[in-house]
Amino acid sequence: MLAVENLEVVYNDVVLVLRGISLEVPDGKIVALLGTNGAGKTTTLRAITGLLDMHEGDVTKGEITFDGADITEEDPAARVRRGISQVMEGRRVFAEMTVDDNLRAGAYSNRDANLVKEARERVMTLFPKLADRRNATAGYLSGGEQQMLAIGRALMQVPKLLILDEPSLGLAPLLVQEVRDIIVEINSQGTAVLLIEQNANMALSIADYGYIMETGKMVMDGDPGKLLKDEDVKEFYLGLHTTGEQKSFRDVKHYKRRKRWLS
């Protein structure tokens, strides 16, 4: 459905952030994109949704296609109308507006009143808490509720592809699990998901396929089983020792493994 090919992105005309990455999100699947801070995950998201221009970024090479159509140069609104929806990093709810108005803003591109109504009902069943707080000012919701609202808002345009940028950021472990279950639920209703995460455990536990990025390159990809078995992933993303035990700081005299993929 979504295909990114050899994408190269430059910020401010000089800073090369993505050095030719490729990824693919097939219909109805969950794909995880993992990487540490500064790997280029969010830049990839911005390139896909068309928000690079606000950050002085440019796609200098490669192309992005959605359902076969080249969308590399399209404006963000057109991409939303095609069915690409995003939950931005850090929730970004409209804090001064009510929960209801946030959802209405999310439904901006959805001009069919019946579809909007259906979407709202779907959101309210997924997040019963939001239904209780419909008229509350969004800025006064708790962090978890704001994340729910951000996801709900993105669902209001009935997307074919939902991109989530670090939905587990700053949430308690229990809430992370809740978010994970909700992503699975959304996916089972037929929406493809691109999950951008640092929490590799959470992401790989539900993904059908995973990519790992580092300094603007794809360094590894495969199905979660393969990634989870990889020594480097174990050490650098799951914090496990080669033996599979949790690492401890008591173990000070420890020589870090070299990441083989960077040699």
Binding site: G50, R92, D101, Y108
Partner: protein
């Protein structure tokens, strides 16, 4: 403050003078309210205080003059209609053209500034003010230009108070526009406008076309400024008509915007009426002896300072939301 003034007025004056003062205050307040709504609608969409609002007011008033008396368009083709209907058609056309000018100004000068620092955008509006005002004044010339309002100097004399027809029309039009705009902000475009004002990037992520939102806001702002410009240029305000000083009325409406709270349409209207009544009261009761005859002109600013001391976000403004 308002109630204080009212109590003071009741204690010191007879009822007729008080009623007359209120009528004058409310009708002038309607003009302030229109201007304040224009400020607010542009602020709501762009988060920028539009310093070019005075120029838009002058331009709108001049367009009314041009269409109503100079061009007589489209009135000259509506010969079968009564004169007042022709005049109204002319004025509505002028309002539409004023709105188009608003869109044009936004497109040429402000669209390239999307995403830039807000203070830079505000400074650009200052520049627009000077450019548009200078050009408009060139067209207006040195003599006042009457707008040819069909109600002329007619008044309704109720015995205890005299109301000019133009004042009745001003108040009715203001209330209608208030309701219309409040309803507009609840629509899909209105929600998009509020979302854009809060966070442009996130609004774009929802598929909102930020440029179009700005266009709509400037069109409405310029339209409201033109309406205010018309009402300011008829009896009993400046019955001689539109001249080069018409544009400055917008800055006297500024306290109304701040009192109401910058991002609230009802606040703009309340603020407008508050400033109008306060000025009118100062005019009636303080007279020439107290600090000279310019004093009523600054009463609005005094009121603004008092309100800001008590409520820093204005009466109806949204406080910045911060969770602790």
């Amino acid at each position: 403050m308002i109630t204080g003034l009212v109590v003071l007025a009741q204690a010191t004056a007879d009822g007729n003078a008080f009623a007359q003062m209120l009528v004058g205050g409310i009708s002038f307040g309607a003009i302030y309210a229109l201007l304040a709504m224009g400020f607010v609608i542009i602020f709501k969409a762009t988060s920028v205080i539009n310093f070019a609002h005075g120029a838009l007011t002058g331009l709108g008033a001049f367009l009314v003059v041009a269409f109503a008396t100079v061009l007589d368009f489209p009135g000259r083709f509506l010969t079968s209609f009564p004169e007042w209907a022709q005049w109204t058609a002319n004025v509505l056309t002028a309002f539409a053209v004023a709105a188009l000018f608003g869109v044009l100004i936004e497109r040429v000068f402000l669209r390239p500034m999307v995403g830039e620092a807000l203070f830079a955008v505000a400074i650009v509006t200052l520049g627009i003010d000077i450019v548009v005002r200078t050009i408009t004044n060139d067209f207006i010339g040195t003599q006042p230009r009457p707008v040819g309002a069909p109600w002329g100097l007619n008044v309704i004399d109720l015995g205890w108070v005299i109301i000019a027809w133009s004042e009745v029309i001003q108040i009715v039009v203001t209330v209608v526009l208030l309701v219309a705009i409040a309803m507009f902000l609840r629509t899909r475009t209105g929600v998009a406008m509020r979302a854009t004002a809060f966070d442009q990037e996130t609004a774009r992520a929802q598929g909102v076309n930020v440029g179009r939102v700005f266009s709509v806001a400037w069109a409405i702002g310029a339209f409201l400024a033109a309406v205010a410009g018309l009402f300011y240029s008829v009896f009993p305000r400046r019955a001689t008509g539109v001249d080069q000083a018409t544009a400055f009325i917008a800055f006297r409406a500024f306290p109304a915007v701040i009192i109401g709270g910058l991002d609230s349409i009802p606040g703009a209207v309340v603020g407008g009426f508050a400033v109008g009544i306060a000025e009118s009261a100062a005019n009636t009761y303080l007279g020439f002896e107290f600090l000279g005859n310019g004093f009523p002109g600054i009463v609005g600013y005094l009121l603004m300072m008092v309100v800001l001391l008590i409520r820093p976000y204005g009466l109806f403004g949204t406080p910045e939301i911060r969770r602790v």
